[in-house]
Symmetry: C2
Subunit: 490 residues, 2 copies
């Protein structure tokens, strides 16, 4: 608390790392690439989970749990799937340790598994192997299941929340009678994610389709939501995949249709992860610390007494009790920080760092004047106001903050979305400003790969309801019918 | 549904396996020893989690998340801990697969880990290694953290929920200034578990201490709650451990006390797991299926229409809507099953199997008479009653069922708890009746081990507030001051 954060303009990446640590969100563990999610960070994740979980249930899904381990052979059953994940797998080969007699603990070679187990990087294979037993008839469909779980993808370069070897996520896996139904589900869940990102995280997103190069390994189509971070880099915040019949065929999952025919089932999968924590942090926070949207803030209002002596504190506490009762009644979460081990200035800095949306400071003079000082985290404005109707005022302010945070992020994105019509301009914007770049592309994987190699920019998505316009590819000059969104990305 | 369950008296173990499968609670996966928790089973587990999580928060704990993997060397730092867990570990040795060129996927030997990683069987070591960075001063204490996670203990003989290689659980890990505080925490969390078992699961438990032989590997004291299943076997339903300074010393976690001294921290850990699902099933269920306590039933009331033709169904549905509105208002969960693909009899059997506490059947005659048939799952009694005030009546009935299920289990336990004063009688009761056996024991590990070897019975616990009485050990005849509880156990 004594030292401030590195500023974003000075070193954005350093700012992020310091913020994650100092705001008690997460830290690196002693296990390479794995993070510890600290209590304050986890309490934000719990709020995210609760909202998403309710949305999944409202759209007819149930939770279930499938094994952490996947037999190596399952993995190979869907060819593109194994290609996509084999190079980043944690492999369990033994099931016992032993004491070597010299006091050292070693792997017991007598306990070698006949078939290695993969720690799940995603669960399509184990789940479709299970669905085979659950689906016989059209009456068993649709099957709408979600799982909250940890997954492991071995990463060489990791960053807290954004890219870690182990992360927490949810993965939906659904089975349908027809391709149309599965496609509708894919879109529905993308809408759920977009709604969550925009209306809870206060983070505007572009919904779109991935190009073939960027598709999930095993999908026919990958839809995504893409958000823009304050450093001008894009972050993929959620994906929803139409898997066609690939996994049904790989695991032989057929159903008897209403017409009595045997048909393969149609599938989707969709997921968001603790990566959303990284997005939330980077979308809104400033050089003083976290800025949390009120709807996801574990503490929405903090109250700090400023007093001399026990008697004044008692008088202030009695008045604070009236405020907190009113907040409680409205379902607004709060913390009354009357610790005597820290000064008010220290507490102010701490709650700024932790992104608490509204701070009340209650001093001796406020007792006499029926006033209180109220400060909002997003704009850092403060004013002294009457305590009459304070809970209503806070309720409205929380809504205003939620909207303001969104608007600010929206304006930022608009200001940092650039239409370009030449490769030169593309590279110039990418280097000097970053942001989303809207440009024509000839639709080939080759050109996409060339752009990525030469500039590191990728096609983030082909937006939904994309305006159709005649144009030429910025690289090859070949004809194009629509612009796509490029960016450097996390 | 067509075939009933094997009865408990016929084959208890078979009854359990069939029930878990047929009531859609869980099934064996293709991964040896790992289970799939099916949506209906998982929804019960979610209710358990929600209640326990709130209790943990009400007692001041926060959730956090620690890595799945533990470096092998951490494991060895606490000697008795590694002895307890080393023989049942999943070991990750590699981090990549590769295609061998012949289309086979094999482990890439170039991607061998320098130090093997253990899939956590419990998290004391990784957590205490983390706490070292979090604890400097008495101001950082107590540290009260819980984690919801999956853990892996390699099991050779597995049973759904009761003993699986992977299971879900929560593990609390707390750090304190003094031994007294840590002991108080250990007891508090045992009380939380006992309260949950008795007042939510409707399952009476005996609170007590484990003997040295049965202690958690690394604990100074293990407290437990023990429940009695319908086949006369005991089930350990939760444990709370006083760890002393063992892990603080192993990981060098010291704090500066109020007096300015450097001292090792005192620790506890405590956990319950998906094993509780097995306990819930075996404590109450009957030959028709599950019997769920209303407080943990995902569906508390099911309503089945019995009708001829669409018009009658429409009229019934309109009246049912009035009932369900009233239930909703009271926060009672319900399902109106108007599927036309199944007959009422089929539905009745299905909801009996799934343990729904209250079933309403609404027929054509009920329309005219302002009546409805109500059936309770616990006693299987049914009666036709007036629909006036039906929601109040159901609310009371759910409470009554909750109490009745508990009472029944309590009576069963009392009837199956036997005081014995000779080894001969001990063996006779154990073989002919089972249940809890209260007997004098000389307090030595040797005698305890002998009894276990000769009879398979273990000391379940030394009950709290155990009456002190003079007696002699049933095996050695040596003096004893109190009886302890023996049983065969899951």
């Amino acid at each position: 608390m004594s030292k401030g954060l590195t500023s974003r303009s000075e070193d954005y990446s350093q700012w992020y790392n310091e913020l994650v640590n100092k705001a008690d969100l997460a830290e690196h563990s002693s296990v390479r690439g794995c993070m510890v999610i600290k209590p304050y960070g986890y309490s934000i994740w719990e709020k995210m989970q609760a909202v998403l979980d309710q949305k999944f249930k409202d759209t007819g899904h149930s939770n279930a749990y499938f094994p952490l381990f996947i037999p190596k052979s399952f993995f190979s059953k869907e060819a593109s799937h194994v290609d996509g994940f084999a190079t980043e797998c944690a492999v369990v080969t033994h099931y016992r340790l032993k004491n070597d007699g010299n006091g050292n603990i070693t792997v017991d070679e007598d306990a070698k598994l006949e078939e290695e187990l993969i720690v799940r990087p995603t669960s399509e294979t184990i789940i479709w192997n299970t669905y085979k037993g659950w689906i016989q008839s059209y009456r068993d469909l649709p099957l709408l299941i979600n799982q909250w779980a940890n997954v492991v993808r071995w990463e060489m370069r990791t960053r807290l929340f954004l890219r870690t070897t182990e992360f927490l996520w949810q993965e939906g896996h659904t089975a349908h009678e027809t391709a149309d139904e599965a496609i509708a589900e894919t879109k529905q869940m993308l809408d759920v994610y977009a709604d969550f990102a925009e209306n809870w995280m206060a983070m505007p997103v572009i919904k779109g389709n991935k190009t073939a190069n960027e598709r999930f390994a095993g999908a026919l189509d990958t839809m995504c939501i893409e958000a823009l971070m304050q450093d001008g880099k894009a972050l993929q915040a959620g994906t929803s995949h139409f898997l066609g019949q690939n996994f049904a065929k790989a695991f032989d999952v057929k159903f008897t249709s209403k017409e009595g025919k045997q048909e393969y089932v149609w599938a989707t999968s969709w997921g968001v992860s603790t990566r959303l924590m990284g997005a939330l942090i980077m979308a809104h926070s400033d050089d003083q610390g976290l800025v949390l949207p009120p709807k996801l803030a574990p503490i929405q209002v903090v109250i700090v007494p400023i007093y001399k002596g026990d008697e004044e504190l008692a008088n202030i506490s009695a008045e604070v009790e009236k405020i907190t009762s009113a907040l409680k009644f409205k379902g607004i979460s709060f913390k009354y920080d009357n610790r005597d081990t820290q000064r008010p200035g220290f507490k102010f800095a701490e709650y700024e760092l932790k992104g608490v949306p509204v701070r009340l400071a209650f001093g001796g003079r406020d007792l006499e004047n029926n006033t209180i000082e109220i400060a909002r985290r997003d704009t850092r404005e403060k004013q002294t106001i009457s305590r009459d109707g304070i809970a209503d005022m806070i309720e409205n302010l929380l809504e205003e903050i939620q909207i303001n945070i969104y608007s600010k992020a929206y304006s930022f994105r608009e200001e940092n979305t650039t239409k370009v019509d030449s490769y030169e301009e593309f590279k110039k914007i990418l280097n000097e400003n970053g942001g989303f770049i809207s440009a024509h592309w000839d639709g080939t994987s080759e050109t996409e790969a060339r752009i990525k190699e030469e500039t590191k920019a990728t096609i983030r998505c082909i937006p939904l309801n994309n305006p159709q316009e005649e144009g030429v590819c910025i690289v090859t000059g070949k004809p194009s019918k629509e612009r796509v969104i490029f960016a450097l990305a996390y």
